[in-house]
């Protein structure tokens, strides 16, 4: 029983962090119809900067998220304004090529900057746990989970209650009607892309503490994140949350009761099963093909 609870708790904790990382990816797809393959690279970039700042100044990496979010927001805005916006209106496949290129550039820059070696930020609590009876709650995971909750809540409030957020949602639902009622597509797109990158900034700060990473780690992360948003439904925020929790639980429960060897497989089996029944994912809407 304790083992089951432990598995569930760990799965939910890690799922929350996955959700934060995936939310930006699904937002960018929803609004811009861009599959941002560079999201993983932005994550690793943010993790690397966090690690660097932590190792030089000793500032807490998870608190650094408050800095990394805005920083990556700015970088995302610049990226969109000067690079990504040039393919607006082109097929999504074009965006995969472009953002993959961006990912390779980021990987190359990181390799030159910090070398092709593993890094990890290890503040004093990185390998300690809170304990409730027989259940261990790793501190780093708990802090990262709380961070993810706060950011996701803020994210949700922003989309729900602000004009900017409503403009983003309007653009996502129907770009031409949104334009008719005065939503300018250019700035709205840049804002959405920047927001998506900003979540990678916060997620990256958490990543720096949770796992060792190196420049090419982004391949692993992007495949995980794409799996999550495909399961949840491309472009759906609640979908990303559910998809991430399913992945977290699949990983820990399969590892607890079968073997870690099967945990990745189980997740993809879930995806395939869901797609067979709902081809547009759990929360996705059918995409109109132009």
């Amino acid at each position: 029983m304790a083992q089951l609870v432990q598995g569930l708790v760990l799965g939910l904790l890690i799922g929350g962090v996955y959700a934060l990382m995936a939310s930006g990816l699904t937002l960018i797809f929803g609004v811009l119809n861009i599959v941002n393959v560079a999201q993983g690279a932005l994550l690793v970039l943010a993790a690397t900067i966090t690690w660097k700042v932590w190792s030089v100044t000793g500032l807490d990496p998870i608190l650094l998220a408050c800095l990394m979010g805005p920083l990556m927001f700015g970088l995302g805005w610049v990226l969109h304004k000067f690079v990504v916006s040039r393919i607006a209106g082109r097929p999504a496949s074009m965006s995969v090529l472009l953002t993959f290129g961006i990912a390779l550039v980021v990987e190359g820059v990181l390799t030159l900057w910090t070398g092709n070696v593993f890094h990890s930020a290890t503040p004093s609590y990185f390998s300690q746990s809170f304990r409730i009876g027989a259940i261990a709650l790793p501190k780093a995971q708990v802090f990262a989970f709380l961070l993810a909750l706060v950011v996701l809540a803020a994210f949700y409030a922003l989309l729900r209650f602000t004009w900017r957020g409503r403009a983003i949602r309007a653009s996502a639902e129907n770009p031409s009607s949104a334009a008719l009622v005065g939503v300018r597509p250019g700035p709205t797109s840049s804002f959405a892309f920047a927001l998506g990158s900003g979540t990678a900034g916060v997620g990256g700060a958490a990543l720096a503490v949770l796992y060792p990473f190196f420049p090419a780690s982004h391949y692993e992360w992007i495949s995980r994140l794409l799996g999550i948003i495909v399961l949840g439904g491309m472009g759906s925020l609640p979908g990303a949350l559910i998809g991430a929790l399913v992945l977290g639980l699949a990983e820990t429960l399969t590892a607890t009761y079968a073997s870690l060897r099967w945990s990745t497989l189980v997740f993809y089996v879930v995806i395939v099963a869901v797609l067979l029944i709902r081809p547009h994912g759990l929360f996705g809407t059918r995409v109109r093909e132009a």
Partner: protein
């Protein structure tokens, strides 16, 4: 795109056959011409990092040997080509080195992936092939007689030195139970499997085994399962990040075994202590082919020269392995005092060579017959604790202290 180099290789091979040059390197003994040694290395692509390190190791050896008067009185020249980590290119490179450039000797390339086809080219041309890497067991099941692996033993035997140490403990002090979480990886899993068999023979009961795939980041469940079995000892077949992840999760779950062995991960000195926290490295065992402070002949000179050339950096193990491979070839040439591939091969099968990795010797298939070094983290740095002739520390931390807060 893939067919072109193959066609070229086929053509080249055909030419070789037509020309009938089955053997080469009979360039005679007593000349003052330099000895040319052909190498193809992955200087770019997937294995660029070890490839570049190997190049440094070979070049430092060449310069040290030449400064000392060369080999059998002749200067040494290296002809190094770049195979871009590509199997087709490495075959073309070695074929060219042998048939067109007519090099006197060959040295091997990096990784089992590249050495596998490269050694076949050498064997077909009756050339001795001393390789600094390429310890996969299937390299040596092809009946080759001129292939020599210039490390202590094939990679699956890495853990044997650790089993030997367990065996040396009085029976009452040996661990009773062990857990074997291992990465599904051609280097990590065989080490773990071989060790498990050796330790089971010594009466250590296996209480937990699991294989996890590459890319696993989430180790808490493995940690929890291991903790549930309370083993005296954990043997973890690991690469790098998974080894760090396992230690972290064990610490988070507050389970510290009395003895802990990991393959590979703890050998990544600073990266490892950064990853698990320096205080948590204390007492962790691993095995390794080389150590910068091992008291083997020429080791200090090699380390100093490397530091002089590369901003005070410490050589990577790959650079040291390449240096040792060149030492092996040098010893054989000096042993037979001429460049005759058959005699060099026979000499290596019959003799032991002192290198910076320690003494190396070979079985009939070219596998090393020596034992790896047993290393242990002590007071924040790696020490060699066995075998005696290469050890840097006389004490062994046992049992491992608990994880530090």
């Amino acid at each position: 795109m893939r067919t072109k180099p193959r066609a070229l290789i086929a053509l080249l091979s055909a030419l070789v056959l037509l020309a009938g040059c089955g053997g080469s390197g009979d360039s005679g003994g007593d000349t003052n011409e330099p000895i040319t040694i052909g190498v193809s290395l992955p200087l770019s692509g997937q294995f660029a990092q070890p490839g570049q390190q190997a190049k440094r190791g070979y070049e430092i050896w060449r310069d040290m040997v030449n400064a000392d008067g060369g080999v059998v009185g002749r200067k040494v020249e290296l002809k190094i080509m770049d195979d871009a980590s590509n199997q087709d290119t490495v075959v073309a490179d070695y074929t060219r080195l042998i048939t067109q450039d007519k090099v006197d000797l060959l040295l091997g390339t990096f990784s089992s992936l590249l050495n596998y086809p490269a050694s076949a080219v050498a064997e077909k041309n009756n050339m001795v092939f001393v390789e600094p890497a390429g310890g996969a067991p299937n390299m040596f099941t092809r009946g080759f007689t001129k292939l020599f692996f210039a490390q202590q033993a094939t990679s699956d035997k890495q853990g044997e030195v650790f089993a030997d140490w367990i065996e040396s403990l009085p029976e009452a002090e040996r661990p009773k139970t062990a857990a074997y979480p291992t990465l599904d990886d051609p280097f990590a899993k065989p080490v773990s499997d071989t060790l498990r068999k050796d330790l089971e023979k010594l009466g250590v009961e296996t209480v937990y085994r699991t294989v996890y795939p590459a890319g696993t980041t989430n180790f808490q469940s493995v940690g929890a399962a291991v903790k549930g079995k309370k083993p005296d000892m954990i043997v973890n077949g690991a690469q790098f990040d998974d080894g760090v992840g396992l230690v972290r999760s064990l610490k988070q779950l507050d389970f510290s075994p009395k003895i802990m062995f990991q393959s590979s991960a703890p050998s990544e000195a600073v990266q490892y202590s950064d990853g698990v926290g320096e205080a948590n490295t204390e007492g962790v065992f691993y095995s390794v082919s080389w150590n910068d402070r091992a008291p083997t002949p020429l080791n200090k000179e090699f380390v100093d020269e490397y530091a002089k050339r590369f901003d005070g950096a410490l050589p990577a193990e790959d650079a040291a392995d390449a240096f040792a491979a060149a030492q092996v070839l040098q010893a054989a040439v000096e042993g037979v005092k001429e460049i005759d591939q058959d005699k060099i091969g026979d000499w290596l099968h019959a003799n032991e060579v002192q290198t910076i990795l320690g003494k190396l010797s070979w079985d009939s298939a070219g596998r090393g017959k020596a034992s790896y070094m047993l290393a242990q983290w002590q007071a924040g740095r790696p020490e060699i604790v066995a075998p005696d002739d290469v050890s840097t520390s006389k004490k062994i931390v046992n049992p491992k202290p608990d994880w530090q807060q």
